[in-house]
């Protein structure tokens, strides 16, 4: 199932056209140069997995795409339009870019259903009944419809993360960003979240995924981006990358995580 989805997407990638384009992006935290001359193009329907050692700039890269982190140089365009600086235009753009966080960040004072309907009602101006109906469909899809009336703290980590994915999907985003979505989860809950992501990829969602889950990269990615020291060291297909990485830095990284 998954493989056929991936192949059909690979066939479609050529016709998909660029959706997210980063050109010469630079960012500093004070003296620390966290992103160095990043050039990256993500095509419609493509699943890009970003891997690399901690502190290499993966999460920062992911967060610059919806401007949760402002950049100090270069340009980022989404669907042809440069990222707006601030204000309403930026909010509108963020509505089109779904984001899933490492620590879920579900609104603690709202039920799961309210978490999912808030954006559609307040940002998309969707009618409440319609928003709730759609939210229930999404919760059904990620397998937690029975938890709709509970509060985030009453759910397990895996359930919370699936709710967070549903919340992002409710905005009908053009692209989904995943910032280490399984890193805060207990091991037995990783699979239930990855399964949702694998299905999403198979359905043709454009995704940028920062993760340490090599299994997901192998199963769903069209492209692997290896980052270290704020730079993109290597861009490759998953097949090539895991068996025959071009750069020494990547080979070194892979030898540390794959052989044990």
């Amino acid at each position: 199932m998954t493989d056929s989805g991936k192949e059909s997407r690979e066939a479609g990638v050529n016709g998909g056209g660029p959706l997210v384009v980063l050109e010469n992006v630079n960012k500093f935290y004070g003296e620390h140069h966290v992103l160095r001359d990043i050039d990256l193009t993500i095509h419609r329907g493509e699943v890009v997995v970003v891997i690399g050692p901690s502190g290499g700039g993966k999460s920062t890269l992911c967060r610059t795409i919806n401007r949760l982190e402002p950049i100090d140089g270069g340009t980022i365009r989404i669907d042809g339009k440069p990222l707006p600086e601030e204000g309403k235009a930026l909010a509108q753009l963020r509505a089109d870019v779904g984001m899933v966080f490492q620590s879920f960040n579900l609104f603690a004072h709202k039920t799961i259903l309210q978490n999912v309907t808030l954006g559609p009602i307040k940002v998309r101006k969707m009618d409440k009944t319609e928003a709730e109906q759609r939210a229930m469909e999404l919760l059904e899809r990620v397998g937690i419809a029975s938890q709709a009336e509970k509060y985030p703290a009453q759910l397990s980590g895996g359930q919370q993360q699936r709710a967070a994915i549903a919340r992002a999907l409710a905005m009908r985003p053009k692209v989904m960003l995943f910032d280490e979505p399984t890193s805060a989860l207990d091991p037995e809950m990783v699979k239930e979240v990855l399964d949702v992501m694998i299905n999403l990829a198979a359905e043709g969602m454009t995704m940028v995924v920062v993760t340490h889950e090599m299994g997901f990269a192998r199963a769903s990615a069209n492209k692997v981006v290896f980052m270290a020291d704020g730079q993109i060291v290597e861009e490759n297909t998953p097949g090539e990358f895991f068996t025959n990485a071009r750069s020494d830095r990547a080979k070194d990284f892979l030898s540390k995580i794959l052989t044990h």
């Binding site: 909010a91 509108q92 509505a95 609104f107 954006g119 307040k122 703290a153 905005m171």
Partner: protein, 229 residues
Amino acid sequence: MNWNVLLDFSPLADNSDKLLSAFWATIRISVTVGILSLVIGTLITAMRVSPIRVLRVAGAFYVNTLRNTPLTLVLLFCSLGLSDTLKFRISGTPSINFFWLAVFGMSVYTAAFVAESLRAGINTVPMGQAEAARAIGLTFTQSLRMVIMPQAFRSVIAPLGSVMIAMIKNTTVVLVASYYEAASLMKDMFEQYGATLPIFIGFAVGFMCLTLPTGFFFNWLAKRMAVVR
């Protein structure tokens, strides 16, 4: 020593109707100030966390000025300064005019303390909540109103209760702004009957009847509304 006067509760009984109307005046001003100070305090807090520098500075200036000025001075300025000197009249009827001037003075003063409590509350809301709110496309004002403030409020309900209790007791100072309430009546009764223990006890208990339930209510609300993380 005149033990009769010390144990004589009859002045309270004789003036029960005056007592009731004086405490009713205290309740009226407390409730009005409570609502207004929450509204003003929330706005000031919003200014203090806004992305616009001018608003942040103005908010900080407001809090630091009002919080460090004695309430008596604020109220005297409202009654003498605004009303008498600047001829700023809210109503032609003196009792209504002084009521609103006292409300104004107490509200702007109490709002500074509400704002400080709320700002502490905002600090308890994890960064990720604001990021998630922005990530789904809420504007700054929307995320403040729908995500940050509701959680900030819930975490400071108990301290806000303390602010409200202090405010109720502070209403006794409004006699300097010519508004007649419980403390004004106590002062008059002291002048008429002498400053006796029973009169003092009567008024102290009267205030406790207002402040103790306020404290219980806010503590109950804090437990009920607590955000579980």
